[in-house]
């Protein structure tokens, strides 16, 4: 509890005195929600280079990745942050899922082990985040244990949150369902892959960080 308050006051005073410390902006969410695709979109838009590899097979990002000093602008305003891309958080990691996706058994088992370590690392890093973007796949049920646990823990730590409902370009996408699941948060529907509605996302980011 004290930790959550400490974090809250640290963020409050940093904001109050406009301390020039770089804000840590974390991307959290279940595997294959599009965290790295969004990280790449942000990095390409504002730095001109990508952040990490993406894949259709879950748990492609298995290590924390940090891109420092990203500066985004809107009119006369600008904000800077360090972007932290994290491995997908899951309750079950099974190498057989990777084998079904075409991987060899040994490679799949190593991926499962690294993905498990990735979940632990992502959770360890959470207390260091100043603001978090929760990236969800809008084609999937938002009421999952992973989503609820992540958002519940962010709330308990008083870390400001923006929920991104990704993949709105897909037929099965249901933005309203995601919005209904998390009514206490601003939920922005985007397609990180195609850049759809990305301007609204940057606006929301400005509101959150500014």
């Amino acid at each position: 509890m004290i930790k959550a308050f400490k974090g809250f006051f640290r963020r409050f005073f940093n904001k109050l005195f406009k301390k020039k410390k770089q804000v840590k902006l974390g991307l959290y969410g279940p595997p294959n929600g599009g965290k790295t695709t969004l990280a790449n979109k942000i990095c390409v838009d504002w730095l001109g280079e990508e952040m990490g590899a993406v894949s259709n097979i879950a748990h492609e990002t298995r290590e924390i990745q940090v891109k420092e000093q990203i500066l985004i602008k809107s009119g006369n305003k600008q904000i800077g942050f360090n972007l932290v891309d994290t491995p997908g958080i899951a309750t079950k990691i099974d190498y057989e899922d990777f084998v079904k996706a075409g991987m060899k058994e040994k490679e799949a088992k190593t991926r499962a082990k690294e993905a498990t370590k990735g979940v632990i690392d992502a959770i360890k890093w959470l207390d260091d985040m100043d603001t978090v973007i929760v990236v969800l796949d809008s084609t999937k049920d938002p009421y999952s244990q992973v989503n609820i646990t992540i958002i519940g823990n962010l709330e308990a730590r008083k870390i400001p949150v923006l929920v991104v409902a990704n993949k709105i370009d897909m037929k099965k996408s249901d933005l309203k369902k995601v919005q209904a699941a998390f009514p206490q948060y601003k939920v922005i529907g985007i397609s990180a892959k195609y850049g759809k509605n990305i301007e609204a996302f940057y606006e929301a980011l400005f509101d959150l960080l500014g």
């Binding site: 004290i2 309750t91 099974d94 190498y95 057989e96 498990t116």
Partner: protein
């Protein structure tokens, strides 16, 4: 399976010499026994190696280590179940020194203690 305060925890398993132990609550002993029978020797060795790879950077592999499986449950090599609620409660495993050069890592208890200390 070794009982509470067994010498094996300090000296290593008397059968296989293994130094990695999983803590199992009394009510789960039967289920755990069933599970260990299902695993081959190769599976057990692989699981032990994987555990050290996952948490090993903070732990000396030559020393006995006790892990609580309520946060990370390894069913077989490559098959993991993670209890997120428990994982979110804690930060780093705390290592208890039992004797000169002998240590125990108790994830659940250590994190409870860490969090109580802070609150």
């Amino acid at each position: 399976m070794h009982g509470d305060a067994s010498d094996a925890i300090l000296k290593g398993c008397t059968n296989c010499g293994g130094k990695l132990f999983f803590f199992v609550k009394k009510e789960h002993i039967e289920r755990a026994q069933q599970r260990t029978f299902d695993l081959t020797k190769k599976d057990k060795e692989q699981i032990e190696k994987d555990v050290y790879d996952i948490i090993g950077s903070e732990i000396d592999t030559d020393l006995p280590v006790v892990l609580d499986i309520e946060s990370i449950n390894i069913l077989k090599p490559g098959k993991y179940e993670l209890d997120l609620v428990n994982l979110f409660k804690r930060k780093h495993p705390l290592i208890y020194k039992l004797d000169e050069g002998k240590y125990v890592v108790d994830l659940i208890e250590s994190f409870k203690k860490l969090s109580n200390k802070k609150d």
